[in-house]
């Protein structure tokens, strides 16, 4: 090997090391949001209503709001996450997502039909959320609900639509 060739190889190796030393941190930096969670807040059970304010046996729609939500460096307050149907039956409170499992439209309560109805494709559900008719592939999604000191708390979640299995997203 000639001296010139050796110097070329050494220079090429050094340039490669410098290139990798820049490219690897740059890629790790750029792909950070795909590897780490950047949105926090709203996962905990959220206060939505007083249990005494819920009529017995009649669904009530409540808005679920996160008091504080942080997205990277931005802090938001009173962020509306979604809505839930609350149904009190005696001491028991049930919470159902208002999101139709078929296509994601907001289901409404049909007083005359005594059922939940989706305005988009006319899926109907019983007051327990069981499908009665229409294209919905599964029941209305139940949300975890707790009652603490007379206040109803709902753990808001979104679920994948158009699947028979209830999968959080």
């Amino acid at each position: 090997m000639t001296r010139r060739r050796l110097l070329e190889l050494v220079a090429g190796a050094l340039a490669t090391v410098v290139g990798v030393a820049v490219a690897v941190p740059a890629l790790a930096y750029l792909t950070f949001p795909t590897r780490k969670r950047t949105v926090f807040g709203g996962d905990e059970p959220l206060d939505v209503a007083a249990v005494d304010a819920l009529p017995d046996g009649k669904p009530v729609r409540v808005v679920v709001k996160a008091p504080v939500r942080r997205d990277a460096w931005t802090v938001f307050t009173d962020v509306t996450l979604g809505a839930s149907w609350l149904l009190r039956e005696g001491d028991h409170v049930r919470a159902l997502s208002t999101v139709c499992p078929h296509a994601g439209c907001a289901v409404d309560w049909d007083e005359r039909g005594d059922s939940f109805v989706c305005p988009c494709h006319d899926s109907r559900f019983s007051r327990q959320g069981t499908p009665l008719s229409g294209p919905s592939p599964r029941p209305l999604d139940a949300l975890d609900v707790t009652v603490v000191d007379g206040r109803v708390r709902v753990a808001w979640r979104r679920f994948r639509t158009a699947t028979a299995k209830k999968e959080p997203v």
């Binding site: 820049v22 930096y29 950070f32 460096w73």
Partner: protein, 72 residues
């Protein structure tokens, strides 16, 4: 007598490529920093703090961008 090579290595010729490398590094790290930056009076400080403390190797990228143009 062999002809003199057209390119002769001299230390003075290192500075041009070094300057070009520094310029490229500034552009690259500037692009990276801009991708995590919100330029407003209320968000700029928090965005830079987030890069420095939360983002993977953010301290390094910011350090390179700060040190790149310095020739002390």
């Amino acid at each position: 007598v062999a002809a003199a090579p057209p390119w002769v290595a001299r230390w003075s010729r290192v500075f041009g490529p070094a300057l070009a490398f520094s310029l490229c590094l500034q552009a690259l790290t500037g692009f990276l920093l801009a991708s995590f930056y919100a330029p407003s009076a209320t968000t700029a400080w928090a965005a830079v703090a987030y890069v420095q403390q939360e983002v993977t190797l953010g301290w390094l990228v910011r350090g390179l961008h700060a040190a790149g143009p310095r020739r002390s």
